[in-house]
Subunit: 323 residues, 2 copies
DNA sequence: GAATGCTACTAGAACGTTCTAGTTATTATT
DNA sequence: AATAATAACTAGAACGTTCTAGTAGCATTC
């Protein structure tokens, strides 16, 4: 079980170590015949190039670090799919790190990526403070996805506009008591809040806001409080929270889409299922991932701009919880 | 932005490179005072140990590779939480790789983990063939989670028993036309199928089986076919498929839990929501992750057994789709 | 007061790659 | 026929750590 190294392959194939390296990296400088020979010997010996050694020795290995906040929220799976759709075509490598409910965990995940010497970091759903994020941006190239941040490259959806879309849809359907279930811990909180407030104000209505936290169960509890205030429609800061609202409605014997209308945010595959049929704002998560990956690839080039931000325009997807 | 190395810190702190290494690894051999001094200098210079170099030089770095098949399926998030619950306490490091819908992708993900020189691999939801998996097991220590495999360490739920639980529950409620929506591509397919068949046979009933694939949308289409055969209850191979079944029922104007009963498998947080209230078999995903992590830690020790397998006993969680 | 053990530290050789600067052949150009 | 250009290959120095074997100093033991 002793590890087979590049030297073993070189010796067995009767060539230099350098040539084996060239062959395995697939760069020019080796004849097709010898390359084939080297691969055969390598395969026989069970040679697998040591990625750590490669990353140490190589300056230009195009390693991209990806951070995902929460595996339980499908948004991040969508973003990751988008990232991979772009990256899989090229010759870059991906190092993954995921966050957790614990507060400081996203910082330590970024630390691990930096320690792995990634060239760029794509971070989706960071919860750290703006100032902490700015510090990281000083140390490494970082692209924040879903979370807007001053001084840092970001790929986001226009949360303000998305919130307005949601509320205006409800207003156009004649609602006058529109509540907002907000999560201050989540990306785009301030923008969605502003969008909600402006839309409500412009229609001459009164805002009705309830704060909640990340967990769906908590959203359900807070939704109960909100329902007690008798709104006719509820806009939830994301689909997971919207699910909490629907749960609360059902437990209260109310029918979503009839007694109270509900709009979510994220348009996850969950909202698309006929059971839920959740009207939701589509932030184009997959496209966010793609854009972030493209920027990441740009940043690998020496000519890269320091900062580059993209904002996509969300759309409203009408389903039966708010027809 | 030039990288700060251990040598820079050593020089600036007036100590040897070795001592800086000792301090940062937190091992014995440095006085508290100098360690503090080293950290201060390191912090001032912005030193971050290069993980690649460390992994290359070190023999005993306790690196554990984790493979997750599909970020869209919450089971794997649960498993990962379990893994982390155990691993976060120790001093091991985790390298993550995730699969995708593409067929050969899980093999290349394992290759990457092996190339990263991980000491053990915890692989959740592998879809490769038994023989291919056996080959990997020859090359590296590997623990298969959710997927049982001969000759390979595995942590699984008793799928046979789980399927029987589901079917027997339906039988006890008086059902006589119980269908099974099966996915041959998924873990535990054969066992769940056997469990279903045996339970049905023992009750003197006729099996009614429809195959489907991984995607939920496909499950919905296949569920439609199944419904045409007029079963009174449907057992789905997992929660995602059960969701497809429920979608199909609703589209057909039928009420799950009333017109047709539905049982899923995985007990994901989704099934727990009041909207769905899906009766499901709980394979203890979180515990599976924990057990796998414990075995992985055992395997790091030189005295480790070659193969170690654990099987947990699933339970039935009754909710309103099959009361 | 010599031997022993312990703590705090260091020098220098690994670890397995990549990369720069060559060296040979071989082919093309004048 | 001489020169230039190209292709195929190599030697050896990085890369930034860890680890083994050791030294110096000091307290403890007999």
């Amino acid at each position: 079980m002793g590890k087979v190294t590049i030297n073993d392959v070189a010796k067995a194939a009767g060539v230099s170590r350098s040539l084996v390296s060239i062959a395995y990296r697939g760069v020019q400088g080796v004849s097709e015949a010898t390359a084939e020979h080297i691969f055969q010997v390598g395969k026989k010996l069970g040679y697998v190039p040591n990625l750590n050694a490669a990353r140490l020795a190589s300056k230009k290995l195009n390693t991209i670090g990806v951070f995902l906040q929460d595996l339980h929220n499908e948004v991040f799976a969508d973003v990751f799919d988008g990232i991979r759709a772009v990256l899989d075509k090229g010759d870059s490598q991906v190092v993954l790190a995921v966050g957790s409910a614990e507060p400081g965990h996203d910082a330590s995940a970024l630390d691990t990526l930096i320690a792995s010497q990634v060239d760029v970091i794509i971070a989706a759903g960071l919860t750290m403070s703006d100032s902490q994020l700015a510090k990281y941006a000083n140390r490494t190239k970082i692209i924040s996805v879903t979370r807007k941040a001053p001084q840092v490259s970001s790929v986001t959806s226009d949360d303000y506009h998305g919130a307005k879309l949601a509320v205006n849809h409800l207003i156009s359907r004649g609602h006058s008591k529109i509540a907002f279930l907000a999560n201050p811990q989540t990306d785009g909180y301030t923008d969605r809040l502003r969008g909600y407030q402006d839309a409500v104000k412009q229609a001459g209505l009164k805002p009705m806001i309830q704060q909640t936290t990340y967990a769906r169960v908590q959203a359900e509890l807070d939704a109960v409080k909100l329902i007690a205030k008798k709104p006719t429609a509820i806009f939830a800061h994301n689909d997971m929270a919207a699910l909490g609202v629907i749960d609360a409605l059902i437990s209260a014997g109310l029918k979503p889409g009839q007694d109270i209308h509900v709009v979510g945010f994220d348009n996850t595959s969950l909202s698309q299922t006929p059971v839920l049929a959740l009207t939701s704002i589509d932030p184009k998560s997959h496209a966010l991932g793609e854009e972030a990956a493209k920027i990441a690839l740009n940043m690998l080039k020496p000519s890269a701009k320091k900062q580059e931000s993209v904002q996509l325009t969300p759309t409203l997807v009408i389903r039966s919880t708010a027809p």
